[in-house]
């Protein structure tokens, strides 16, 4: 692998409203440090893509944003969301995760009915009204472009869905919580091209209402879908810019090599 100067970076600052602002974040798994001093802001109601080679720390950084690294890794630094540092010990993580939802690489529907996949967490968060629950099921499934395919079998097991459908159900499950921010860790990488394009369509429609942060290995996907792109290398943030700039005029050699496939 080529050696790049990891301390050089090009991170553009945009005068926009940010949903999340990370300041000097370091993440370690025990002795092994995986994220080095990353400062990065995610503009509100925009799609930001995180790209980078395998092991560059994209998932690690993403999971720090909704505290999924608690008990797994040590996260230092400030991560500001609505003027509070959510990396503080005193933060109620259960409340936080209602605002910052997450969709994982492998579809992980619960072994429950399609309806209950969506209502289970809502009920546990105190929503008991049947009408409200039904409403949330319908709206979230429609937003996730799954409604037409499942509206006649809401009470059947979610495990009978195809991979692509299951992933859209997981998206519906996340947005039924009415989050502000949606974190997606390679949401389409385990799916076939048709399911992938359905997921992309879904996300494209969602970006009007949510701030979306998506990790992807797929360059076309990143350039098609995102407004901003962050490139990670070996735990360092190397470049952050508008997606159009990153893919046409990258400033850093590492970024250029990575997107043109000349990497390592």
């Amino acid at each position: 692998m080529k050696n790049y100067n990891l301390n050089q970076q090009y991170v553009r600052d945009f005068a926009v409203e940010n949903a999340i602002e990370a300041h000097h974040v370091n993440v370690s798994y025990g002795e092994h440090q995986s994220i080095f001093d990353v400062s990065l802001s995610f503009p509100r109601f925009k799609v930001t893509a995180m790209i980078g080679a395998s092991g560059s720390g994209k998932s690690t950084f993403l999971r720090s944003i909704n505290r999924m690294n608690d008990n797994v890794a040590t996260v230092d630094g400030d991560i500001m969301y609505r003027d509070v540092n959510i990396n503080d010990d005193k933060i109620n993580v259960y409340e936080l995760r209602k605002h910052i939802g997450m969709v994982f690489q492998r579809p992980n529907p619960f072994a429950k009915s399609i309806r209950e996949n969506i209502t289970f967490a809502l009920k546990k968060h105190g929503i008991k009204d049947k009408k409200e629950l039904d409403q949330r099921v319908e709206t979230s499934l429609k937003e996730a472009a799954l409604w037409d395919e499942v509206k006649d079998k809401l009470d059947e097991s979610a495990l009978s869905l195809s991979g692509g459908q299951a992933q859209r159900l997981c998206i519906a499950r996340a947005i039924a919580m009415k989050p502000d921010v949606l974190l997606l860790d390679e949401p389409a990488s385990a799916l076939d091209p048709i399911s992938t394009s359905k997921i992309e369509d879904t996300l494209n429609r969602l970006k009007e209402k949510y701030t979306i942060i998506i990790v992807t290995h797929n360059m076309q996907q990143a350039s098609r879908m995102s407004d901003y792109t962050a490139f990670f290398h070996q735990g360092h943030l190397i470049e952050f810019n508008k997606t159009s700039h990153i893919f046409t005029r990258p400033k850093m050699q590492a970024t250029e090599d990575y997107i043109s496939g000349n990497f390592g």
């Binding site: 999924m68 995760r97 209602k98 492998r106 992980n108 072994a111 967490a121 495990l159 009978s160």
Partner: protein, 295 residues
């Protein structure tokens, strides 16, 4: 050798072994059923045992076996569930947890006579519980706990960690994720564990001789007051189980039909275990479907 031939030989050997196991099992069960079933009659199932005369039945022993199973499960299941959840979901991965796990394993391999005598001294004598179903249930809990705990632990662990992440990412606490998502998905495995431990309870004799006792005093099946001495539900009465009865009839039975009674009892025991298997699977399936709405 050519891979196809090797494959054929390997498959052949495996099939052979499977057939051998099935054949042994079928022969055993077949023998017990063939020699025992002719002695089973309504009278046999519904009359009390006789000490000296022919024509005794196994009514009380049969009931005692089932009641003992129920009591044992009532005592051991909640403990095993708690311990299993702790070990699978909360216990840190360190030497202390390893010691706990090893201890549990050792507990399950203790000889039943030793556990029986220990429970005799501690519960029957020291704590004055006397020969009783309760003493027997506690003794059996010693065997049951490791089995059930291990089983619940592995059933929980076999549920994908993706499900845990999904629960947490929706703002659920670890406890709600475990009880609401992980546990329902683990139900089929847990049912299997209950069935296995039930087989052990039905079949155990050595540990019960000193704890539940070898006598089946008169009980009244219409007396629902569990504190009454003659009530069939009284957990403090001595209670010979079917397995103990078989052992006793075989070793010191002096009734003229001792042989027939022992064969008949063995057949009943096997049938009860089979029925319990079917019943538990049925309950488990319904429970699983209800909790996961799978069809």
């Amino acid at each position: 050798m050519n891979p196809k031939v090797v494959n054929k030989i390997a498959t052949g050997v495996i099939y052979g072994l499977v057939i051998l196991v099935v054949a042994i099992l079928a022969a055993l069960i077949g023998y017990i059923l063939v020699t025992g079933v002719p002695h089973i009659s309504w009278h046999f199932l519904t009359s009390p045992a006789q000490s000296f005369l022919a024509g005794g039945g196994i009514r009380d022993q049969l009931f005692n076996s089932i009641y003992l199973l129920v009591l044992t499960l009532i005592i051991s299941f909640p403990i095993a569930l708690g311990a299993g959840i702790y070990l699978a979901e909360y216990a840190p991965k360190n030497w202390f947890t390893e010691i706990i796990k090893t201890t549990i394993e050792v507990l399950s391999s203790l000889p039943s006579v030793v556990v029986g005598l220990f429970c005799y001294l501690l519960f029957v004598v020291q704590m004055r519980m006397g020969f009783s179903i309760l003493s027997g249930a506690i003794a059996l809990t010693f065997f049951n706990l490791p089995l059930l705990t291990r089983n619940i632990e592995t059933s929980l662990e076999s549920v994908s960690s993706l499900q845990r992440e999904a629960g947490l990412s929706l703002g659920l606490s670890q406890w709600k994720t475990i009880t609401g998502i992980i546990l329902p998905a683990a139900v089929p495995g847990i049912i299997t564990g209950i069935i296995l431990s039930a087989g052990r309870v039905f079949g155990e004799a050595a540990a019960l001789i000193y704890t539940a006792g070898q006598s089946a005093p008169f009980v009244d099946y219409t007396n629902w007051n569990i504190f009454s001495d003659t009530s069939f539900l009284n957990p403090l009465r001595p209670a010979e189980t079917l397995a103990v009865h078989i052992w006793k009839v075989n070793s010191e039975g002096i009734t003229p039909d001792a042989n027939a009674i022992s064969s008949g009892s063995s057949a009943v025991l096997i049938i009860v275990i089979l029925l319990f298997n079917i019943f538990a699977h049925w309950i488990g399936n319904r429970l699983y479907k209800k909790m996961t709405s799978s069809k």
